[in-house]
């Protein structure tokens, strides 16, 4: 019932509904896209080099005569896997650390938070570049495509875990003295149970908003890394990478750059709208509850 009312609130707002629709479409493209591509995304079609958008090639073909629509569609999966997976890992680790740190307090909390301060004093892209640059220096060019993806995935988890942990920690810190938590403690509940059953539910709304926000930033970050040439490597259909390749051949095949660029923008703005809407829906619900109480 409660979830239901939040979803309804969210969809009642046109901007949030648009955001939700875009994200849903993106997820569908990621799941089914690779099976639906009209052409092989990495295969040159020699009879149609650099053709503009047409009924056969919706987004045209690029400088290597690959079908751009197929590449954009195929790119959705790696974008979702990396951004979604990285966000998920960051949320899991961040929640665990934030709960324990906020509930226990003391020196553990102090040490963890100072460490996170240090991590967060590096802007996200800079930290990501430092990590990826070092990984590249250490493992060289011999790394497989999967290894590269794994690197980006790892970097996202490292960059976003402290941010999530801080959000959860502040909620945990706020509720740990409340009567219901105290009651659970006096009942002799064990720590994991208190954390999961009593504290976590209080942090869920903030966590949901944070996860949506991290997800949109993750897509942003991955495409920036791809564009700079330090993320996913060619010939993989990564959106940022496609923009970079397209830019070099802009005068001949502008569509090869615009298609992925617009796609990135739409997905990031969509995820942003969804996060904004979620935040507002949750705030309105709290206001409503205060009124009812």
């Amino acid at each position: 019932m409660r979830q239901h009312s939040i979803v309804r609130r969210l969809l009642a707002d046109p901007a949030s509904a648009l955001g939700a629709a875009i994200v849903a479409l993106f997820v569908l493209a990621a799941v089914f896209g690779p099976a639906l591509t009209p052409f092989d995304p990495n295969q040159s079609i020699y009879e149609s080099v650099r053709v503009p958008p047409s009924a056969q090639h919706w987004f045209g073909t690029d400088h290597l005569a690959r079908d751009v629509f197929s590449r954009v569609l195929a790119g959705a999966r790696s974008a979702l896997l990396l951004a979604g997976g990285g966000t998920l890992v960051a949320v899991l680790f961040g929640t665990a650390i934030g709960l324990v740190s906020g509930f226990r307090g003391g020196w553990l909390d102090e040490v963890l938070m100072r460490f996170f301060d240090a991590l967060l004093s590096l802007p996200a892209l800079l930290l990501a570049l430092l990590l990826l640059g070092t990984l590249r220096a250490a493992y060289g060019e011999s790394v497989s495509a999967i290894g590269r993806g794994l690197g980006v995935f790892l970097v996202l988890a490292v960059v976003y875990t402290p941010i999530v942990a801080r959000v959860v920690r502040s909620v945990a810190l706020g509720v740990r003295g409340r009567a219901w938590v105290e009651a659970a403690r006096l009942q002799g509940e064990r720590l994991p149970r208190i954390l999961l059953r009593e504290i976590l539910p209080a942090a869920l709304p903030a966590l949901a908003v944070e996860a949506a926000l991290r997800f949109s930033y993750a897509i942003f970050l991955i495409s920036s890394l791809g564009f700079l040439g330090v993320g996913v490597q060619p010939p993989n259909p990564d959106w940022g990478l496609m923009v970079n390749e397209g830019r070099r051949n802009l005068s001949q095949v502008p569509w090869a750059m615009w298609a992925p660029a617009v796609t990135i923008a739409v997905v990031v703005v969509g995820a942003n709208l969804l996060a904004d809407g979620l935040k507002r829906a949750l705030m309105e619900r709290d206001l409503q509850r205060e009124k009812d109480a």
């Binding site: 100072r114 460490f115 301060d117 240090a118 991590l119 004093s121 590096l122 802007p123 996200a124 892209l125 800079l126 570049l129 430092l130 990590l131 990826l132 640059g133 070092t134 990984l135 590249r136 220096a137 250490a138 060289g140 949109s216 942003f220 495409s223 920036s224 564009f227 700079l228 040439g229 330090v230 940022g240 923009v243 970079n244 830019r247 750059m257 660029a261 990135i264 923008a265 990031v268 703005v269 942003n272 709208l273 904004d276």
Partner: protein, 315 residues
Amino acid sequence: MFAYLLRRLGFLLLTVVLTSLLVFLIAQVLPGDVCRVILGREAGAARLAECRADLGLDEPAAVRYLTWLADFLRGDWGESYATGEPIREWVLGRVRMSIMLAGVAFVVAVPLAVGLGALAGLLHGKWPDTLISIGSLAVVGLPEFVTAIVLIQFAAFRFPWLPASSAIPVGTPFREALPALILPALTATLVLLAYIARLTRAGVVEELRQNYVRTAELKSLPRWAVLLRHVLPNALLPTITVIAISTGWLVSGLVVIENVFNYPGLGRLLVFAIDRRDLPTLQAIVMVTVVAFALANLAADLLYAALNPRIRVGE
């Protein structure tokens, strides 16, 4: 106020030292054997041993960290693995170029963003707010390289005299560099503008919900007096912090923007260092940025304290 200053300064030092430890761990300990990185996988045992002795890799990591930190503080940043150049001069030359670019963007973006954000906040729910909010959301959502490319295309069409590439020599004086600065600075301005305006708006809207606003309205002060005399001073104070945080945002943005325009700043050097596996240069660039970011935050904190009576007078 003095105690506050000391506390902030101590906190700044602690953060920078901790971050330097982190940077050292990532760049020097994580990759394992740095000499293998420099010499490649086929290097002979003798050359490896010589290189290790040269770089002091046989020492324990703690000693190496302290040596590196001491050298860094003394201004000895070592030599590039890629070109053999002294890193300090190299990096500092680029720092100047990046500051030039960031400075132009800041000077244009900050007043405009605070003005637009405050306007949107005060009129929240009305059409100017909707317009500003949607516009800034769209720009925040666009990766910098997309914004940059759109601008390049537009400029090539409307202002063909503007250079699309900003590959000027390092050390070009500001006046001569100006034409090359326009497009990259405009990109950075747009990104900053949207980011700061959004947060300023949120601050103003939050402030409008406070009880004192209702009190002022209930004693039937005119609307403009409530907004200008009561809401704005309170709402705009936190934007100082917002602007400081946005320097972090700008750093990330500049890396991308400089690479799109081939502008010879710190961000361009960073990607070069990664491409050439030049770890000491990478390390130095990150440290310089960390210090700059920390200083921006400190400056904002002090300004905030100086303007906020609750902190200025002290507890």
